[in-house]
């Protein structure tokens, strides 16, 4: 069942500095659904717009980011809300309780001068204003122990916690009100492998227990492989392939996806691997046609002139590439 439906999203960074206007087409015509009880992974290299997409889907659009077009419909109970046209107050009603966010670079998102307990109190007090101290303590300690975190972290300052611990505390902070939909932006970046595997485990457990939905953005295909049910691959502001994880890894269709998967080294395998050549186009002046064509070894004429649309090529498998479309699927 669809929980959130993003439609025809266009969101650009528009900055005006000393008379020169600059537009970065960070999210350029994207539609994406999030279903109930699933982990959706969004993959792509840095600068492809995946974090921006996440923010737009979360409904946070702050200058210089501007929404050009599109809606994000969120199903709350039996209502459907367009997150992008809610007033601040309306939106405040559902934020954190129903939708929450685990930020990128979560190493520094905890207030360095506030003990963790106070930060928790700030967040809970905002969204459940009539919580008593007792209820608060019960809620927080219960949640932390569910996540396997020691209760002492509440009395610590953020800097006293290790990076992994801080990340887990941030996840706890984002999930404390049992939201139905969690957006996670690079939640494991800059973590050590052992801790990273712990965090992956943590996220898996949270989702499994609450049967809620998780949208996770990361460039690390290893994480996606271990976490996501469904994966959307982004390239230069657009989604170029979308499929269940097993499909993506087992049967990638887009040449870019293929590069991504096949360039990954593995322990126990020393065979030669290559990266995709070149680099992504500038999002300030995105090229007409297929945005990957300059790096693509199988590019054709049409790639230059026409933009390949994201079309279904099988059950739950969508691709935006003329090579794949040829096989006779229809546009989604």
């Amino acid at each position: 069942m669809t929980l959130l439906e993003a439609k025809d999203l266009k969101a650009y960074y528009i900055t005006k500095s000393y008379g020169i206007e600059r537009t970065v087409h960070a999210v350029d015509d994207i539609s994406l659904d999030v279903n109930t009880d699933e982990i959706l992974g969004i993959a792509g290299e840095s600068g492809c717009g995946k974090s921006t997409l996440l923010r737009v889907m979360f409904g946070i659009i702050r200058p210089p980011l501007q929404l050009i077009h599109g809606t994000v419909a969120y199903r709350s109970g039996d209502r459907s809300l367009d997150l992008l046209s809610l007033t601040d107050d309306e939106y405040r009603q559902i934020r954190w309780k129903e939708l929450s966010y685990i930020p990128q670079g979560s190493m520094s998102v905890l207030n360095p001068l506030r003990r963790v307990r106070k930060t928790f109190w700030d967040f809970i007090d905002t969204h459940r204003p009539n919580t008593t101290r007792r209820e608060f303590e019960d809620l927080v300690t219960g949640h932390l122990s569910d996540l396997g975190l020691p209760a002492e972290v509440l009395d610590a300052f953020p800097h006293q916690l290790s990076g992994g611990m801080r990340q887990r505390v941030t996840i706890a902070l984002a999930t404390i009100l049992k939201p139905r939909l969690i957006f996670a932006d690079e939640p494991t970046t800059a973590l050590d492998v052992i801790v990273q595997s712990g965090v992956i485990d943590l996220l898996r457990r949270i989702q499994a227990e609450a049967r809620n939905s998780l949208v996770i953005v990361t460039h690390d295909m290893g994480i996606h492989a271990n976490l996501a049910d469904r994966i959307a691959i982004m390239y230069a502001g657009q989604i170029i392939e979308e499929a269940p994880a097993k499909q993506i890894f087992g049967n990638p269709q887009h040449p870019y996806t293929k590069y991504l998967i096949h360039s990954l080294p593995r322990i126990g395998d020393k065979s030669h691997r290559i990266s995709s050549p070149g680099r992504p186009p500038s999002l300030m002046v995105p090229p007409k046609g297929c945005r990957f064509r300059d790096r693509c070894e199988q590019k054709r004429r049409i790639c230059r002139e026409e933009r390949p649309l994201l079309v279904s090529i099988g059950e739950n498998h969508k691709v935006a590439c003329f090579l794949a479309v040829k096989e006779g699927a229809h546009a989604s």
Partner: protein, 333 residues
């Protein structure tokens, strides 16, 4: 196969101690604990030092580069003690032989300077060219080596280039002095996966084609396995396992190495990670008297709490673990 050369780089008993602490609860932090290894004795090689953050691998790299002074021990480069090189001439000699590649390509070059400046400076300072006019030609050679061209970088600022390009530039610049050793500290951790292999492959090529030794410092076991010949696993300042990369990673001996290996997420949805047990407050491990890993080791014994294991040779590698030390054998017997 390999002949025994004189090692290019050798460290003996190398330690670095930081004093940290607040108020009166200060503490000693042994960032690197009696590290001993050598490179290049079996010919040109890529040697990896792998470990998590806080394992002391970056401190070790900084000491080798002369950016930090060791608290104890010595570093010998081509038979010459370089622990505390003084004098500009000797420094230049050392820098000509040993060049660094840093972790963050966006930080390697000042964001306010043009990148080609660094190339020119290197060429001039090491007297690699006689006249400034020769510079373009000279530079082009090295840029070609990393798959770039002068045209591509001339007059550009770092932010105008991608991480992968910058890191390749960083390597190209390091190569200009035709060094014997590259010290690469986490050279790909900040680069997108799709570009990562272009850098990693470069190291392989350099070793094969230009006889450049690489000291590769990383937390990424997958790339380490991919390019290196030998690997040392560091834990809280101590090298716990050192040997050929296939041996160490395919069949790890030390319990830590095992856990580390098992934590690497495989890019395969069919083969997902098993849950691991995480430590509590990790920084306390530094203060442990015995084996630093005893706190989370699945096979910890009484002796691990009190006594630091010594290195033993086991299956073509050095291991520091009581499971393999002879004394352990005696005590359990």
């Amino acid at each position: 196969m390999p002949h025994n050369h004189q090692p290019i780089l050798q460290t003996r008993n190398l330690s670095k101690v930081f004093i940290t602490g607040m108020g009166f609860a200060k503490s000693r932090l042994v960032a690197v604990n009696r590290a001993a290894f050598q490179m290049g004795a079996q010919g040109t090689e890529i040697f990896t030092i792998a470990g998590e953050s806080g394992s002391g691998k970056s401190t070790l790299a900084k000491m080798i580069l002369g950016l930090l002074e060791p608290t104890e021990g010595s570093i010998t480069f081509r038979g010459r003690n370089v622990t505390s090189i003084k004098g500009r001439k000797d420094r230049l000699w050392f820098m000509k032989e040993v060049q660094p590649v840093f972790q963050n390509p966006f930080e390697t070059f000042s964001p306010l300077n043009r990148v080609d400046d660094y190339f020119l400076e290197t060429a001039v300072s090491f007297r690699l060219i006689k006249r400034r006019q020769e510079a373009p030609e000279y530079l082009e050679k090295f840029l070609e080596l990393v798959g770039l061209s002068l045209h591509h970088i001339q007059g550009r600022y770092p932010h105008e280039l991608s991480g992968g390009e910058l890191q390749r530039l960083s390597i190209a610049r390091a190569l200009m002095t035709r060094p014997t050793l590259l010290v690469a500290d986490e050279p790909v951790s900040m680069i997108d996966a799709s570009l990562r292999m272009s850098v990693v492959n470069l190291f392989r090529e350099l070793k094969d084609k230009a006889n450049v030794n690489v000291l590769y410092i990383t937390h990424d076991l997958a790339t380490a396995y991919y390019i290196s010949d030998r690997i040392a696993i560091m834990l809280r300042g101590t090298i716990v396992e050192l040997g050929p990369v296939e041996k160490v990673l395919d069949h790890p001996l030390h319990p830590y190495t095992k856990i580390l290996k098992n934590s690497v997420p495989e890019p395969d949805p069919l083969n997902r990670l098993q849950p691991v047990r995480l430590s509590g407050i990790e920084s306390k491990e530094f203060a442990r008297a015995g084996c630093k890993f005893a706190g989370r080791c699945p096979s910890a014994m009484a002796i691990c709490e009190t006594q630091e294991p010594e290195a033993v040779i086991e299956d073509e590698r050095e291991v520091k673990c009581h499971l393999y030390s002879e004394s352990q054998g005696k005590t359990t017997a």
